[in-house]
Symmetry: C2
Subunit: 324 residues, 2 copies
Amino acid sequence: MSKMVSTELLNEFLSGSRRALAKLISAVENDGTQARAVLDELYGKIGQAYRLGITGPPGAGKSTLVDQLAKTIRASGKTVGIIAVDPTSPFTGGALLGDRVRMHDIATDPGVFIRSMATRGSLGGLSQKAQDAADVLDVFGKDFIIFETVGVGQSELDIVEAADTVIVVLVPESGDSVQAMKAGLMEIADIFVLNKADRDGASRAVQELEAILHLRPAAPWNPPVVSTVAPAGKGLDAVWKKIQQHREFLLQDGRLAAKRKQRLEKKIHELVSRRLKQEFWDEEAQQLLDASLENFQNQKLSPYRIVEELMNKFMASLQRKMEN
Amino acid sequence: MSKMVSTELLNEFLSGSRRALAKLISAVENDGTQARAVLDELYGKIGQAYRLGITGPPGAGKSTLVDQLAKTIRASGKTVGIIAVDPTSPFTGGALLGDRVRMHDIATDPGVFIRSMATRGSLGGLSQKAQDAADVLDVFGKDFIIFETVGVGQSELDIVEAADTVIVVLVPESGDSVQAMKAGLMEIADIFVLNKADRDGASRAVQELEAILHLRPAAPWNPPVVSTVAPAGKGLDAVWKKIQQHREFLLQDGRLAAKRKQRLEKKIHELVSRRLKQEFWDEEAQQLLDASLENFQNQKLSPYRIVEELMNKFMASLQRKMEN
């Protein structure tokens, strides 16, 4: 079995090698036992980076906004890791949206590390692997980590869990489809950004948004609306300011700590589910399932009864394992 | 423990009582042990109904199309069950889109049974419960079952599994957001319906769609594009014809049987995951998790190590259970 993560690599990583960083993220993505051991070792050091989630409907100009935000963060002397999650087809594995072109400044800045990731079958989802990659960036010493996702599907829920501050990027666009799609996104934003604010209908869109927000019951944190024109870099300082305000807010009354505890709990639930599946679906279970499915054609067995049989077999085989 | 499903109810159901049908679906939705036992009893009878999935971006006029399709099916002498899955907020549980108004003919036709369901936390998802409800409608004797979902999120994948024929409803609408959202939907359609075909840009939209489809490699089934104006009932006969053609196609070479076998396999995997979770997360496991999370603040334990501990505890408690 090839060693994916050598002590040498780990040391290079810990002394700040970008090359080693990239390799370690790959090792973690491939989810080998080695990588898991590595994360175990590094875990004591996780928790310094602040995590931002940027999401919104396709076409809102998120990539440019993310790049500009990274620039703003760099100007304040901090370092940035960007994890761009691209929706891929669960059927062909190919990219669903066109490749983004990143701003030159960002692409060449050694203080910025960018990683693109496919969603791998869960349309729009932010996988545990994206969070694991963020953990690696965290240990590496990145001050800020930005998750960039397309706001369709499961990603709304995932990003709320993965990020400390969630920014929803909208644009002045008409049409029922967009309105309804926004509906889920409305609930998760800590900060709203109205991008392409130089377009027709921009100020009206801001007003409508603020009116909707005004209807909500007052809360400890009321998401602000910031207008931007990302390619021109307009409004980015205001966004940056709001991020810092939200971070301050979370640091009060242990809110940030509570968020991160919840994140860890969810992660553990996910990992347990994965382990249980691995333990359960051995060769014997698969054969039992295949046999039941064959019978299905003829006898129309209830899936519930099939599951009972499988559970019994699982308990029995566990018992045998433990006796040996 | 109250009996949710009495023999009396079951008999009423099997003799065609709508009231009993509604009650049984509710029992199944609430997922009691009783309901499971009932499904077990009924399972031998499942498999007669043909399942249609209707999905598409919000604002495409799906509800009206579904109602008109139900009318068309009824005119051919068949009965229909409609399961309308409404996206609800995972945060508030409230509806994300406005309530639909169903066509009067359909709402009052005894040959049509309509059930609205919330997605309950998986944004846009078609839960196992929706499929269980479909199974109940199947046993009840419905010839056709229509799943109506909003095409955002996980629902694309779910509907492919739940339905025999998937119809994607689009409208002539411009804008990048909609285009990108369609991207995932493009792959799952067995039939495309271009609704609101009386709008500007309709014929061009059809041409563009057909051009995109033409670029695909030739396949055993090439999804046709049908134009409709749902409120006026235009194009529905053509849609109905294409559904029948697709059904004929699936009946060749055991394709439909293969689909349904896959559906059952997926269902079993889901049920196993649920059962394993139930077995695993007992009081002891929860306490162990809570204790680990407390320590997290202080010691930054790796989630992987916490999972190892939990797995060991699980194995140990299973062993104790079996020795008793």
